[in-house]
């Protein structure tokens, strides 16, 4: 482009040069063309003196009539980004050497599908013009596109759709995590703060676990093949039963390795379940979709991977309490059963039968003694009868009727005949109520009727 030669002394005539693009060449507007006689005071050759407005408009026209400047694609880094309350966007596009002011009217800004921000690389399409109040030229932006980002987004969407269609994200592919993992393979950068976060969580929650760190780069071109190799190495171990793939937060570009198809397929091929925790809550990567469990952050991934010993200790405590309670219950049941048996035993005791028998025995004894007493009495009375009969037969009873028994005193022989008694013999005479002695008188002949 030819420099503008506004200092030429022949300027007034230049306005009428053929090929000049000066729209003010009509000179109808005194304010804009403004050549005047103000230069007369110097007395020298006549200079054309511009008003600020006039020159500004001149420049503006120059710019706006250049087709090259009226449809510009400009690439640079956004800085000093601001969104006015009116909805218009103001920012600067710059590179290492230069900067150009940009404005994007609200009508164009509302259709933006992304959030431009300070530091983002962008391509803007618009036209160059001048803002007269400030005398600055700027790009009036009609379209604004993120650089690279848009491309990455498209690749992300393409890969996600392809793998989804292939069934790699299917719910039926998700494996449950082991309740008590013994070995945990961690695939990440050894220098990353994310690793320390993970180890801190493991130390606090479940220090029993063996940790196998498979080191890898987590960003850059080398990251995807390294992540794949690290996953394969740690997945091959038999002392590992769970894998953790983690990386701290970063830009979409920095997290890009986790949107790599090789990494996605390596995760899907792991024989152990994989927990993926990449970036922050809002970052979703292809690796997240393929993994068996997606965690919002590396720390959260560690928390999902292992149980918490606080919970475990509570469970152990609960088990011990249950054991005590169950044992007490068991003993209580035994005691109760024992008491029941005791009562049953009492109910079935032979004591009652013993008592019955004892009473029966008493009855028999009583009956026996009664029978004995009766027998005695009977016998007594019969004895008495016999005695009476005996008494009736006794010679003593005859004595009562006046008879006497005579015995010899010397030998007690009963004297029945005369020749048994001789004179002088002493006799004992027994009568009813006693005895007395007598002596035999000389013979007096036998008594009549006796012999």
């Amino acid at each position: 482009m030819t420099p503008i030669q506004y200092s030429l002394p022949i300027f007034p005539s230049r306005a009428k040069e053929p090929g000049s693009r000066t729209p003010d060449s009509k000179d109808s507007d005194p304010e804009s063309s403004g050549p005047g006689d103000s230069g007369t005071g110097f007395g020298g050759p006549k200079f054309r003196v511009w008003t600020v407005t006039g020159l500004t408009r001149y420049i503006k026209d120059l710019l706006e009539l250049d087709p090259e400047l009226q449809d510009v694609w400009l690439e640079g880094e956004i800085s000093n980004f601001s969104r006015a309350t009116s909805g218009h966007l103001y920012f600067t596009l710059k590179d290492a050497e230069a900067a150009i002011q940009c404005v994007m009217w609200r009508t164009a800004a509302t259709v933006l599908a992304w959030q431009p921000e300070h530091g983002a690389a962008a391509q803007a399409r618009g036209h160059i013009s001048i803002y007269p109040p400030r005398g600055s030229y700027q790009l009036y932006v009609d379209e604004l596109h993120p650089i690279g980002l848009g491309d990455l987004h498209a690749r992300f969407e393409e890969l996600r759709e392809r793998l989804r269609a292939e069934g790699l994200f299917g719910v039926e592919r998700k494996r449950p995590l082991p309740v008590f993992p013994r070995g945990l393979g961690i695939v990440t950068s050894p220098q990353a703060a994310a690793l320390q976060d993970v180890l801190n969580v493991l130390r606090r929650r479940y220090p029993l676990i063996g940790v196998y760190l498979a080191p890898t780069a987590v960003q850059g071109d080398q990251a995807p093949p390294q992540i794949v190799a690290a996953l394969q190495a740690v997945d091959a171990r038999d002392d590992v039963d769970l894998l953790l793939l983690v990386r701290g937060g970063g830009s979409l570009e920095e997290l890009w390795a986790f949107n790599d198809e090789r990494v996605a397929r390596a995760i899907a091929a792991c024989r152990h379940p994989v927990v993926c925790g990449v970036g922050h809550e809002t970052d979703f990567t292809i690796a997240d979709f393929v993994a068996d469990v997606r965690a919002p952050t590396p720390s959260a991934a560690a928390e999902l991977a292992v149980p918490d010993q606080t919970d475990l200790r509570q469970q152990i405590e609960a088990c011990a309490r249950q054991l005590v309670g169950l044992m007490e219950r068991h003993l209580g049941q035994l005691r109760k059963a024992w008491e029941q048996q005791q009562r049953a035993l009492q109910r079935l005791s032979p004591q009652a039968r013993v008592d019955t028998r004892r009473q029966q025995a008493d009855d028999l004894i009583q009956r026996a003694s009664r029978a004995l007493a009766y027998g005695l009495a009977l016998r007594r009375s019969r004895l008495a009868g016999l005695e009476a009969r005996l008494a009736a037969l006794s010679p003593l009873a005859t004595l009562e009727r006046g008879y006497a028994i005579v015995r010899r005193s010397d030998n007690g022989a009963v004297v029945r005949r005369v020749d048994q008694a001789h004179a002088g013999d002493a006799l004992t005479i027994r009568v009813q109520d006693g005895e007395f002695s007598a002596s035999v008188q000389p013979p007096a002949g036998p008594a009549p009727g006796t012999g």
Partner: protein, 74 residues
């Protein structure tokens, strides 16, 4: 018995502890069986706690991808 128990890993001991509680819960045991289960369960619980108390996180770093060495110290 106690030496056998000390060799049990946490998850095995914890699993047996839960099973012991369930067994005792199910009942239908002689007094001897119940006492044996109770004592075993209490030992398991105390073993589990000890394992947790004594645990320290061990981290082994594998050799970087492509290297032939197996394990490298962190």
């Amino acid at each position: 018995m106690s030496s056998e128990l000390e060799t049990l890993s946490f998850e095995v001991a914890f699993g047996e502890l839960e099973a012991t509680v369930q067994r005792l819960e199910a009942g239908d045991l002689t007094l001897e069986e119940a006492i044996a289960l109770y004592e075993r369960g209490m030992r398991l619980a105390s073993h589990c706690n000890h394992v947790l108390d004594d645990a320290e996180l061990e981290v082994k770093q594998l050799a970087p991808a492509g290297s032939q060495a197996d394990l490298a110290s962190p």
